[in-house]
Amino acid sequence: MHLGFINQALQTGKPVAVKDGDGFLFLNTSDLIGFKSSSGQAICYTENGDYESVKSYNYLKALVKPIQGWMHVASGLRLNLNRIAAVFPVDSNDYDLVSYCGRSFPLSPSYYDDIREYYGVETLQHVKPISLPQYWMMKMNIRNIDKDIMYMKIPELFKEFSTDAGDTIVVSDLIVNFLYQQVQYIRDGEDSPIEGGNVRSLWYMIKPTLSRLDLLDGTNHYKTVSSKLAEMVEHRILSYGEFELYEYGLWNVGLYNPHIIFLAEKRSHYQFLQQIQDHAGVTIISSEGQPSMMTCEYFCEAFKKKVPEYWKHDRIVIINIMDYDPHGYMILDTFIDNLRVFGIKHPTEIKLSIPENYTDLELEFQHINLEKEDDDDVGNTILNKWMKKTEGINGNKWGMEVDVMMLDRPRVRELFLAAAETWFKIQPPVQRRVWEEIKQIWRNYEHF
């Protein structure tokens, strides 16, 4: 049995006398958090203050030697690890040991291994196993901050969020910690302060603080809020759902064949998707260009409820109508990556907008010469990579807008049904036609 733990639990130990003004105090080794060498004597750290020992540093060193938990942590500094509550990584090599009463002591790198072995851990950086969200929280320097950031005074904000030099606020550090603090309040049982709002509502909460810091000139920090929030969601540190943000994405999970996802890049194709859903009961979604992380989160949460085996291989198929060009491929990749973030990891993917599904005439006359297209997002490298993957159209750097195919919707419908044929669990036409019912309700309402 560990004598140090017993000493601590019983609050007893070997006697230690310290000087206290004109008199003495009689303590025991369990009262001490540690002691450091000072001109041959020892300064003893206790919860109630620091005292000079009557006996020498070397005497105290010998006194605590047999008691487990007393360790050398820096030159001339011994700590009673039985009174240490936590290890705080300062940077990749430096750590602070913090006592139960909140006193902090630096750990010298020379003693790192001894302390690590004492605690029986692989590293003092983080607990193993560590979750990925935890890893990203550490990477993004997200921490528990007691005081509400929105009500911190300017010196407090500088103390918490400034650079090492102390003269500049690191806005991204302030924003990620603000977002984390807000979600912690919600997790502790408070109502979301922006229920039914959007990301802009979060921005309006922190804007006055940035205004007080004179940080509203220049950079658009609304974008910082939005991008940092997306990053935190991507790393599963928090979710949009926790804030109860309003989400207006165009998607609907199918009633009969929800595992078949019909994805369109463009909003204008959503009505066509609705018709397909009415016929086949599949799930539909329009990414509206680059799909937003928030839409993906809400979509995935609803989807996972309807498709219980969503994590398995070959259970989900994404049949898509995207532009046949690097942009369309990038959007699809982002969508699939986002699904992966929210747990849908192994979808099969079938593209309908590929050269084989266009007529020769369309390919000849309706193609887009991608080399001549003025697109800042798609440079030569991306285009060449796409060419390597697809061979363009007959080896030319040409693409096809999916709208060319959509001019002949019965063809797209046929292509879709052929691609989905082996995936249907319930054969179309399905019984309920939700969108038609909604339309009928509206017609009746207008008539009324």
Partner: protein, 136 residues
């Protein structure tokens, strides 16, 4: 006489065991630090999605990314811990009361200290638990 002495030492050790766990502290992670929880200060451990929530006797809840079975293996040399339910491992030395759950077949336990949360003992484990708590 020597037999009496051995018995006394055994008694002393068992009493000490009730005060202090023979195990090392359990590291848990917070946003910015690694904290060390003394096993004797744990009230119970339960699963919370893909992680463990460790409730201590001061009323704090700590997170550890581990499985309950993995954690129980680490604690197996400490007799105070008992697998009371598929999602609960409790510190029997800290149990204050036991009540039948009015809604089902399981039992609820409360703890000494500042902790308000309760743990569960399943009907399949209740006999063993009652034996441990000198109820049978």
């Amino acid at each position: 006489m020597p037999k009496k002495k051995d018995e006394n030492i055994e008694l002393l050790l068992s009493l000490l065991m009730r005060i202090v766990s023979p195990l090392k502290s359990i590291p848990v992670q917070t946003a910015d630090a690694m904290y060390f929880i003394r096993p004797e200060n744990i009230a119970f451990i339960t699963t919370d999605e893909k992680r463990l929530a460790i409730y201590d006797l001061d009323g704090n809840s700590w997170t550890r990314y581990d499985t309950l079975s993995g954690m129980e293996k680490k604690l197996e040399k400490d007799p105070r811990f008992f697998h009371s339910h598929k999602s609960y491992c409790i510190n029997t030395y800290a149990v204050k009361s036991l009540y039948k759950d009015t809604k089902g077949n399981s039992w609820r336990v409360t703890f000494h200290g500042d902790i308000e949360s309760e743990a569960t003992v399943s009907s399949s484990n209740i006999q063993e638990f009652k034996k441990m708590m000198e109820l049978e």
